[in-house]
């Protein structure tokens, strides 16, 4: 039988020109094969076939103007082929979703059947001011305790949720708080224990601490202008070490590797570890911040300066967290598009509590939860201090962050108190200790750590007679030893373990630490810690004693590094741990294969005159990309990134052809489903439609533009934006892209101060090229004609992506 293929609904356009016919009479075609390309003055789209069979005749020719329902082809199809019709994509995805939903329900049932954990003690909250009937309160709390011990936490949580819902329906519009008490999220009895040798790990950590501090002090003794930081790493050493010894898997020929965004200011700690691993020499440590003439070490993580070591530039505050989120999202994109295997790789990002004040730091956390990035783990090192003073002197940064992240849908793990606190908290029958913990502000917490045990006894435990009594048997020294969670390897291990196993949401670990941990009176928890780069002899002696570094007084005076023999248990242990985890970190390598050269005709059509036909260079670019999408080698590697302006640029044809990436597929029928360029979302979609979000789009572009090293796959990202909202808006990210050795195309569309006519002052760009010229490895062009664009783009692909 003969079937007619007619022009589908093409939206608001009529009399649109046929510019290309992609089939000929006698061809066999399948559903979704592109048949013709049509082009209005704004957009160019391919019309796909809706039938299968052999083309009997073609009813149109190039140059014809066509509208909806015009005949394109007659196709002869056997009924067999018709029967063969595959299930439409949407139906297929609906079935899949239904199946997934059922599986999920099953999982939930399993969770609720989890054996009930007997809780020995439960914390009873202290009477609050505003409690008009404490006895009634007590009744409710006891009922709750009974439910917990009988049916478990899940049931208790369910009941609380129901109560709140009921209250809400009855008109009590008081939202459920996002905060939990100021104690660890993981109770001691639920902590997973490390199988590591804690003594040897402490010795290794102490050596890394010592060498990290020594390299900064030595550099500044030589040249006081060099600067550097001791305090940041000192506060984060345990956080890094637990990861290095037990969690972070390196890239090797069997595994893609976890991606770790190290906090910029803690770079000396990474160098100190690489020194023990034998990857850096003593001479190199002595060249910290002296990169010009020697094989020096960069001040902060800079892949441009240490291309075999650093993977991610993180020191521009706030960019690390955002880049990490989009990196995790891009990893899922590659997996969902079938370009890399799902190996359970993780993205870890280390951030500072002060850094979280950058809007960029928190700006994308909603996306991370929405996209269910369970491959992402943030570790926020809360040492309570920024450069000038406390991060939140009058409040509590940990509680604030907890609320923001939980409110955005993250899995939050607070690591506040170390193991020495466990028994005190367990014995806090009246709840007064937790009450003090909740009431004490960060300014006080910081001040206490700058003093001593007696001060803490008086100012902290002394607030209530109950808590004063609680520590009556402890000496001042014991009180001083009460540690913070971020310095306790057991607590950190348990948190990392839980984070690694979390599914369905990103995790943030909020760890409380002390800035300048172990630096003594000069540097511990004092407002000037961040700038500390010199330690006098007394401080150094204190530091040595504090961490039992086996150096003589003389060696300390000379600020010698300490590296045990390669056969020592410490070095053997350290290397063995890394061997078990696949190799060393950080390390930057690339094994990506170049992309095959595209065929010449893809560009040749742009070298002939367009005749009478007028078009913009944006349009010419879209036509070129449409052609590139037909090249089977190039097509899968193209990553079009658009911040909600696809229609402005005439790119809506891409929606149907390659789909918009959406990790959940498309759960609805789009309003324009009947149209040719309907808004098609797909789990394996190719377009990254970022919404009105240039910073996010640029972060995605950087992830794609560095996939050749982070995922060993060469990709061609093309980020198209209003030229005015490019470098001017995301200049710092563009700078980071240069540092990262990004490869790809940035297209500043609707460019030119007088060419983008009606839009006015904020939109008309007359300087983006000048900003672009500040980045040394950015190559820029302002072409006029289509053939110029073709020659430039072709050469860009050759230089960046193809085999030489």
């Amino acid at each position: 039988m003969t079937e007619k293929l007619v022009v589908p609904d093409i939206g608001d356009f009529e009399d649109v020109e046929v510019i290309e016919i992609l089939v000929k009479e006698g061809d066999q075609i399948k559903v979704n094969d592109p048949v013709v390309t049509i082009e209005s003055d704004k957009s160019s789209v391919e019309i796909p076939s809706t039938v299968s069979g052999k083309i009997e005749n073609i009813a149109i020719k190039v140059g014809d103007k066509i509208s909806k329902d015009d005949l394109l082809l007659n196709v002869s199809s056997s009924s067999k082929i018709l029967d063969d019709k595959s299930i439409p994509k949407d139906t297929e995805s609906i079935i899949k979703q239904a199946e997934a939903a059922m599986a999920q329900k099953k999982e939930e049932t399993v969770i609720s059947q989890e054996p009930v954990r007997k809780k020995e003690q439960s914390i009873i909250q202290v009477t609050k001011s505003g409690d008009i009937d404490p006895l009634e309160t007590q009744d409710w709390l006891e009922s709750l305790s009974a439910v917990i011990s009988k049916n478990g936490n899940q049931r208790a949580h369910f009941l609380i949720k129901e109560l709140i819902n009921k209250a809400y329906r009855e008109g009590a519009n008081i939202p459920y708080t996002q905060n939990t008490p100021y104690i660890n999220t993981i109770p001691p009895e639920a902590e997973v224990k490390s199988n590591g040798d804690q003594n040897i790990e402490r010795r290794i950590r102490s050596l890394i601490r010592w060498n990290a501090a020594a390299m900064v002090v030595r550099a500044n003794k030589k040249f006081p202008e060099l600067g550097g930081h001791i305090g940041t790493f000192a506060s984060a050493a345990t956080l890094y070490d637990v990861g290095m010894n037990h969690f972070w898997r390196a890239k090797n020929n069997k595994f893609g590797g976890d991606l770790v965004y190290f906090q910029g200011h803690s770079a000396p700690g990474m160098y100190a570890r690489a020194f023990l691993e034998g990857r850096l020499s003593e001479k190199q440590l002595d060249s910290f911040r002296q990169e010009v003439n020697t094989d020096g070490l960069s001040s902060y993580p800079h892949p441009w300066l240490m291309p075999k070591f650093w993977q991610f530039p993180t020191v521009s505050m706030g960019l690390g967290p955002m880049l990490a989120i989009y990196q995790a999202r891009y990893m899922k994109y590659l997996i969902n598009r079938g370009l890399i295997k799902d190996e359970g790789r993780k993205v870890w990002a280390f951030l500072g509590d002060g850094e979280m004040d950058e809007p960029e730091s928190m700006g994308a956390i909603g996306l991370a939860a929405r996209e269910k990035l369970d491959n992402l783990i943030f570790v926020i090192n809360c040492n309570l201090q920024r450069l000038d003073g406390p991060v939140r002197g009058n409040g509590k940064i940990i509680q604030e962050l907890e609320g923001s992240f939980r409110g955005s849908g993250w899995n939050v793990i607070k690591v506040i108190w170390g193991s020495y606190w466990d028994s005190l908290i367990a014995n806090d029958k009246t709840g007064h200790l937790v009450k003090i913990m909740n009431e004490t502000v960060d300014g006080e917490y910081q001040a206490m750590k700058a003093r001593d045990g007696a001060y803490v006894r008086e100012k902290f435990f002394g607030k209530y007679s109950e808590t004063h009594e609680l520590v009556s048997s402890l000496s001042d020294k014991d009180i001083w030893r009460l540690n913070r969670g971020g310095h306790d390897p057991h607590k950190v291990f348990a948190a990392y373990d839980k984070a690694s196993k979390n599914q369905g949401s990103p995790t943030v670990i909020i760890a409380k630490t002390i800035k300048g941990y172990g630096m003594g009176k000069t540097g511990e928890s004092v407002n000037t810690t961040h700038q500390t780069k010199k330690l006098d002899v007394d401080d150094l002696m204190y530091y040595r004693d504090r961490f039992d570094v086996p150096l003589s007084d003389e060696q300390v005076r000379n600020i010698e590094y300490f590296k045990p023999d390669d056969k020592s248990p410490e070095i053997k242990y350290l290397k063995e741990r890394r061997l078990n985890l696949g190799g060393f970190l950080p390390e930057r390598t690339t094994y990506a294969k170049p992309i095959k050269t595209p065929s010449k005709d893809i560009f040749d059509f742009m070298k002939v005159s367009t005749g009478e036909k007028e078009m913009s260079t944006t349009m010419a670019l879209v036509r070129m990309l449409t052609n590139l999408l037909r090249d089977k080698n190039i097509s899968p590697r193209l990553v079009p990134i658009i911040p909600d302006e696809a229609r402005t640029f005439g790119m809506e044809g891409f929606f149907q052809k390659i789909g918009i990436y959406a990790h959940e597929g498309q759960k609805y029928e789009p309003e324009d489903a009947a149209q040719l360029s309907s808004y098609r979302e797909d789990k394996s979609g190719q377009v990254l439609e970022e919404g009105i979000n240039e910073a996010g789009a640029m972060s995605s572009w950087i992830a794609a533009a560095t996939a050749y090293t982070n995922h060993d796959i060469e990709m061609i990202p093309i980020y198209i934006f209003y030229s005015m909202f490019g470098f001017q808006r995301v200049g710092d990210l563009a700078w980071a892209a240069g540092d990262s050795q990004a490869r790809g195309f940035l297209i500043g569309a609707t460019a030119g101060r007088t060419t983008l006519a009606g839009e006015g002052l904020q939109h008309q760009d007359g300087h983006s090229h000048l900003i672009a010229s500040t980045i040394p490895n950015c190559v820029t062009y302002d072409p006029t004609f289509h053939y110029e664009l073709a020659v430039i783009f072709r050469e860009g692909m050759r230089r960046m992506h193809e085999k030489k």
Partner: protein, 212 residues
């Protein structure tokens, strides 16, 4: 095997519709496009006075129209250069100048800008849809007289034609500026410039667009 280069590309594209010619037959054209400039057209009928016109982006088309007027109405010859990248030209110029200064005893290299323009006739006038500083970047790399036009100042909403008039990069202003440049270089008398300024209703006392 040479490694893939760690560079990234920034290319501007426009939304103005116009027809596009075929690529010039000259074999060196593609090389010029990539290096940053190539000659796209030449008017050579009168062989009296000549000017070098450099245009970039959409303003190249204004420059081509201006050259036609200069030829037809004023008997001025010109060579029109499509500048695809002032930035790339500057990079080459910097590198060549640096090398020459550090190697005074060796054969002196010639910047690509100078290779293109060094032996041409007449002063140079450049214009783009960007600030003057954009085209000014190549000024140090040629010894010839060099004038820049551009869109310095805040943009505002209006038609392309009016905006180009406002920023003085439309074909009429380009003609008037060309004639004035040639007069300043004492290649023609100033009466042509005065005439053109009057003809196109250009007000010489108008404040700089950066102040408007």
């Amino acid at each position: 095997m040479k490694k893939n280069e760690n560079v990234f590309y920034y290319i501007t594209t426009m939304n103005e519709n116009y027809s596009h010619p075929e690529i010039p037959k000259d074999k060196k054209c593609e090389e010029g496009i990539l290096k940053g400039m190539y000659k796209i057209k030449e008017y050579n009928e009168f062989k009296k006075t000549k000017i070098q016109l450099l245009g970039s982006g959409t303003i190249l088309r204004e420059m081509i129209s201006a050259a036609e007027i200069l030829q037809n109405d004023y008997q001025i010859d010109s060579e029109i250069w499509s500048v695809t990248s002032f930035n790339e030209l500057r990079k080459d110029g910097m590198e060549v100048e640096r090398y020459n200064l550090l190697n005074p005893d060796k054969d002196q290299k010639i910047s690509y800008v100078d290779q293109c323009l060094g032996k041409t006739e007449g002063p140079i006038m450049a214009a783009s849809d960007y600030m003057r500083m954009h085209s000014d970047q190549i000024r140090p790399y040629t010894n010839k007289s060099f004038y820049s036009l551009g869109t310095d100042g805040f943009g505002r909403s209006d038609t392309r034609k009016k905006l180009r008039k406002f920023f003085e990069v439309d074909k009429e202003h380009l003609v008037a500026y060309s004639l004035s440049v040639l007069a300043k270089e004492q290649l023609i008398t100033s009466k042509y410039a005065k005439e053109a300024i009057k003809k196109y209703n250009i007000n010489g006392e108008r404040p700089m667009p950066t102040k408007l």
